[in-house]
């Protein structure tokens, strides 16, 4: 119950924010009948109305994970953000070994398996994408 009400609240805030952001769209050189802000306003309205509905008629509460599970997810999220940042610095192969090994480990594998999976995934995907498909992945200091 509570979760849906929170969703409704967040959705309502989002709708208001969206509508506000639509009002600050700069005035175009020549505008059509609807303009760049007309359709977004309608969308904000739908977003807002459906959010009000959640507040008034919430669904039963979902089963949220325990705190340490939440922390697990939060930490995985941080690792993924980190991966996006260090990819151009470390290069594809090393960055990918680290994140794959981490995720494998956290999903329940033993450390050795995790490292092996990291190396295997990283090298395998490098061969597939960079060497076979000819795409360019991020270069590290060693050129891969």
């Amino acid at each position: 119950m509570m979760s849906d009400r929170v969703l409704g609240g967040v959705g309502l805030a989002l709708a208001v924010f969206y509508a506000w952001a639509a009002t600050i769209i700069p005035e175009p050189f020549s505008s059509d009948a609807i303009g760049p802000d007309g359709f977004p306003m309608i969308i904000a309205l739908v977003l807002g109305l459906s959010s009000v509905y959640f507040v008034l008629k919430p669904d039963p509460e979902p089963q949220w994970p325990s705190l340490n599970r939440l922390a697990e997810i939060g930490f995985a999220l941080l690792v993924m953000f980190g991966y996006a940042q260090v990819l151009p610095v470390l290069g594809f192969v090393f960055a990918t070994i680290i994140i794959t090994a981490y995720l494998t480990w956290r999903l329940g594998a033993r450390p050795l398996t995790a490292i092996l999976n990291g190396v295997g995934t990283s090298v395998g995907l490098f061969v597939l994408f960079e060497l076979i498909f000819g795409l360019s992945l991020a270069d590290g200091p060693l050129g891969f």
Binding site: P28, F29, S30, S136
Partner: protein
Amino acid sequence: MIKTTLAGGAIAAALAVTAPFAASAQEFTPDQPECIAPAAAGGGWDFTCRQVARIMRETDLIDGSMRVQNLSGGGGGVAYAEVVNKRNDENDLIVAASTATATRLAQGAYPGNTMDQVRWLGTIGADYGVIGVRPDSEIEDLPGLMSALEEDPRSISIGGGSASGGWDHLKVLIAAQEAGIEDLRAIKYVAFAGGGEAISQLLAGSLQAYSGDLSEAMGFVESGDLRVLAVLAPERLEGDFSEFPTAAEQGLDVVGANWRGFYGPGEMSDEAYDWWVGQLDTMYASEEWKAVMEQNGLADLDLHGDEFNEFVAESVSDIEEISREIGLVQ
């Protein structure tokens, strides 16, 4: 008085003085040549990179192959900023560009970046603008379209493949300005995702006129579904295209060329710059490239090195002036 021939002088000059660039003995060769396509795989810039990489490899202008790196975002602005901020002194790097790049630079759509932050290498061809109508249209010629627009702009919708304020739109506005139309804002331009889509809406009867590039219009002209009012070239084109009147001979001095080419990082060494310019020049002259140009409907526009730099500078300042005059930018 504003100059409405968009870099027309530069094009004419280039056509007159086709100075062959002497590929003199140079020390520089790139270790890892790389071409950035400032859009996702599959777009026009991506195509420019991949085609040039292919021809350069086939004609042995580069050892091995040139990597093509896609770097999309901001209509090319992300790649531009990346080159200026992070890769400013690299010698192995070139980036695909086109009239769209110049238009966005002129309209300030790459925030904080200007055209003189990079070194402009050369063109690989151009696509001239076309303004057309349905064959059964009552409009006979370009001045006819302009006077119809002046009388009742509400009755005519013009479609094109670029966003509002983009190249296909600008061509119409420039012509209208040249024709002395006062209220440019009243002209109805309808943006489509591509020229083909605009033409099919012209055929479907939703639009009354079309503004685009010759290459995308060709098939419909041949089949008799589209009548060309004017080609926006400095003089009549060759071969099959010679039947189309230019805007200039109808009294509207408008030239619009959508060029394709490359720039390199701003601090690229002179040796590297000369090398890339020389390779592009040699490639341009090759039979293989002539075939690619013909296949893609590209017309001749052979500008390399300093000439190209001047050309871009001039076209950026022209577009800027016109965009301001019209009210597209403040």
